[in-house]
Amino acid sequence: MMNLSNLSVGLSTYLLVGAMLFCLGLYGVLAKRNIIALLMSIELMLNAVNINFVAFNRFLWNQKIDVHYLLTGHVAAIFVIVVAAAEVAVGLALIITIYRNRRSTNVDELNWLKW
């Protein structure tokens, strides 16, 4: 599977790095109380996804067949970054607004969407 002469590190290794980042982010989303920490954890998860996109693009894309779509994985990553940037902007603005109204950034206390 792994050809060390051409390929220093294999696809699986990149994917595992991505998986680790993703699960650390997931833990952050599930376990932290501060809503800003949640937002940061989500950023970590998005980064993990981007690593996967780029790794797939690097290792699986056949240049000879799809010459026009050579960098599709990169484009996907770019869009993820764009959306993440927008999300951070709006998310932080929301957090500030919530903080202004509730004097708290605690996720536990933001539970007024219930029965």
């Binding site: 220093s8 590190v9 970590l44």
Partner: protein, 167 residues
């Protein structure tokens, strides 16, 4: 050589991410986040994604991390050393996260079906290649992303500024 570089920065990125989620101080978390982003940027360079690496550094490390610090500054109350606590069910969360990782690892390691190229592709990845693709094949998504960013910008400003009581 590149293997060594890869492992250094992969471990750096993961360790920084660990710091993000375990640090009790949310300001530290934000700095760890910037570090983790930088490590990932190096991984991009290793995968011939030079442009992406630059974007990663500029947007994530430069903009997002700094914005997070600003938000922390605006919303911080009480002792900064206790600003990033875990909730009551953090252990269950850890369990779920570990089992998700185990699941992904299982798939990644047991799957014999990746059609990995015999000779990995090496060229491209520069801003020129990207721009060609973005402005030809992915024109419409590109424009849509532009609109999205504008909307997010305006929305963020309005949200953060707050609506004045009309009377």
């Amino acid at each position: 050589m590149s293997t060594i570089v890869f492992f250094i920065f992969a471990i750096l990125a993961i360790a920084a991410a660990w710091g993000v989620v375990t640090s009790k101080n949310i300001v530290h978390s934000a700095f760890y986040l910037a570090l983790s982003f930088a490590g990932v940027a190096v991984l991009y360079i290793l995968m011939n994604a030079d442009f992406l690496a630059a974007v990663q550094l500029l947007i994530y490390t430069g903009a997002v991390a700094v914005m997070v610090v600003f938000a922390v500054m605006l919303t911080l109350r009480g002792d900064v050393r206790e600003s990033n606590p875990e909730n009551r069910s953090w252990f269950v969360g850890a369990l779920v996260a570990v089992s998700v990782f185990a699941m992904i690892a299982l798939v990644v390691l047991t799957n014999a079906d990746w059609r990995v190229l015999a000779t990995p592709w090496t060229g491209g990845g520069s801003a020129e290649d990207m721009s060609l693709l973005l402005l030809s094949q992915f024109m419409i998504p590109f424009e849509a992303a532009a609109v999205l960013l504008t909307v997010a910008l305006i929305g963020a400003v309005i949200l953060a500024k707050g609506v004045k009581e009309s009377k």
